[in-house]
């Protein structure tokens, strides 16, 4: 890694940032409406990777089609689990007026349950996709490998779609209206229960997609989602919770910091396992000196 050219580090940073962005946008979506950080978000990601893995081994289709079906299934399976977890656990807890702590601990417990169910279904620790990707090739200063580029394209498509959904469609505006003022949303005739279910489905589905992309580019394990959850939290905090443009900037800052950080770590002879520590440091520094994140820079949105 120490000899990686800078152009390549930039590409990796964008790729890491894209996955974080996907996951962070999803996380803020449920945070905006349900007002608690959902720790089971980590396992929605992990489940996406395993769903894709299962589907990829099952299908014998041309590669692009397999990838497409994997993405769709990861989205649907994680999304459905998100929807059910709101319907069965978080919805009833919220209606009972549970505190932030109860909801948070509840989401952690749910996360553990999902994680151990995954371990039961797919024992043996680390897994990896065996998809017949084309060989990596050089384009200009970059070394291009499809699983590296895929999350960037997906984040771009998902980001633009989300922005269009939230600003151009009726359900999207209802999601923003409910986040802005739940009681007035009801008083406008919005079925806020259905809006919440939709948001949880979308959020968990996007998390599943993000998890799938992480799984596709390297090996993955049942703790995969948990391992990157901290980085995702760092992105949402740095970006300022609920700020779309803030999240984009933050995702790429964290992505860059981690990838450059790994190179620096290597020069000191330290393992790349410390990369999460970098986002942890950024998270703490931001909380200490600028808890509102980057939102001020993107005021009006």
């Amino acid at each position: 890694m120490a000899n990686t050219p800078w152009a390549q580090i930039l590409l990796f940073s964008i790729q890491t940032g894209s996955v974080y962005l996907l996951s962070a946008v999803a996380l803020t979506l449920t945070y905006g409406l349900s007002k608690f950080p959902n720790f089971a978000h980590a396992e929605f990601m992990t489940l996406g990777a395993y769903t894709g893995f299962f589907i990829a081994n099952l299908l014998h289709l041309p590669l692009p089609l397999t990838v497409l079906v994997c993405i769709l299934c990861a989205f649907l399976v994680s999304g459905s689990l998100g929807l059910m977890s709101y319907k069965i656990i978080f919805g009833p807890l919220l209606r009972r007026g549970s505190s932030l702590i109860h909801l948070m601990i509840g989401s952690m417990a749910l996360g553990f349950i999902i994680r151990y169910v995954i371990i039961e279904i797919w024992p043996g620790g680390t897994q990896s996709f065996t998809l017949p990707w084309p060989e990596a090739s050089n384009i200009g200063p970059f070394r291009i490998y499809i699983p590296w580029i895929l999350p960037i394209a997906a984040a771009l498509v998902a980001g633009v779609s989300m922005q269009l959904l939230l600003t151009r469609t009726n359900i999207g505006r209802a999601i923003r209206a409910t986040a802005s003022n739940p009681q007035l949303a009801m008083a406008s005739g919005i079925n806020t229960g259905r809006v919440l279910l939709t948001t949880w489905f979308l959020s968990a589905g996007l998390a599943g997609m993000a998890g799938l992309f992480i799984g596709m580019k390297a090996s993955f394990s049942p703790t995969m989602g948990w391992n990157i959850l901290l980085s995702v939290f760092a992105v949402t905090v740095l970006g300022g919770i609920g700020s779309f443009y803030g999240a984009i900037a933050a995702a790429f800052i964290i992505g860059l910091a981690e990838n450059v950080g790994v190179v620096i770590l290597a020069q000191f002879g330290l393992a790349s396992d410390y990369r999460t520590a970098i986002s942890f440091v950024i998270l703490i520094v931001v909380l200490l000196i600028k808890p509102e994140g980057l939102t001020r820079l993107f005021k009006g949105n």
């Binding site: 923003r176 003022n181 009801m186 008083a187």
Partner: protein, 239 residues
């Protein structure tokens, strides 16, 4: 003909504490009904309980003769009963146009909405040039105007307003009352809570006086305004 809206013997409150104790009211099509009374008399709780925003403990509600007791808020709105809370009555993070679109959320005739937003801007012309601004940037009077405009997008037959004139400048009060007159001329009945008794009674057709959760007087607004007993004992107007 059945009244457009009626509540019968409504008891309401919070966490089983009774604040409204047996209030019955009727609203005829196209009239303005004021609910007045001192602070803490349960006016606001009564209105909120209709929509489930306060606990509806017992009693019945009717809309055009149909029993609608226990109907959830979003269904009440789509039936044609509008509601404007006293505070937080706009979507601060949505633009003015988006606020209006939300007001029409329950309607099925989507193609009409763009035209009707134009129509609303004719009446609420103060909002037109700010169409793309976020509602959070509006002044108090403008917010109240937007709140009314949003509610009108749902084409309610009766609109309930919780103290629409509270904490507004005298100029804004005039503006809001002008708009409410237009709303009423369009055929929508109004039920409004108001602290300022004199103003409420001179604007409304009929009024209910609430004291300690009970309706102690009701009748044509003009009569109540001239009723010596009502003035002295309940309305704090003196002689």
């Amino acid at each position: 003909m059945a009244p457009i809206f009626a509540s019968v013997d409504v008891r309401a409150g919070y966490s089983d504490i009774v604040i409204v104790d047996g209030v019955s009211l009727e609203v005829e099509a196209g009239e303005i009904v004021a609910i007045v009374g001192p602070n803490g008399s349960g006016k606001s709780t009564l209105l909120k309980s209709f929509f489930g925003f306060a606990q509806f403990l017992s009693g019945k509600m009717f809309y055009k003769g149909e029993d609608i007791t226990g109907r959830p808020a979003d269904k009440m709105i789509s039936s044609g009963i509008g509601y404007i809370p006293q505070t937080n009555n706009v979507f601060a993070n949505l633009t003015i146009t988006e606020n209006l679109q939300m007001g029409a959320y329950t309607r099925s005739d989507r193609s009409q909405i763009a035209t009707e937003i134009e129509g609303i801007f004719e009446i609420f012309h103060e909002l037109k040039h700010r169409a793309k601004s976020f509602a959070g940037t509006l002044s108090g009077g403008e917010r109240q105007m937007l709140a009314i405009a949003r509610a009108m997008m749902g084409k309610p037959s009766v609109l309930m307003l919780d103290e629409p004139l509270a904490s507004l400048s005298p100029k804004s009060v005039e503006g809001i009352l002008d708009k409410l007159t237009l709303v009423r001329q369009s055929g929508t009945a109004l039920v409004m809570i108001e602290q300022n008794v004199k103003r409420a009674l001179s604007f409304a057709n009929r009024a209910y006086i609430l004291v300690e959760g009970k309706c102690i007087m009701q009748g044509p607004a003009g009569e109540l305004l001239n009723d010596e007993q009502a003035k002295k004992r309940y309305l704090g107007l003196g002689t």
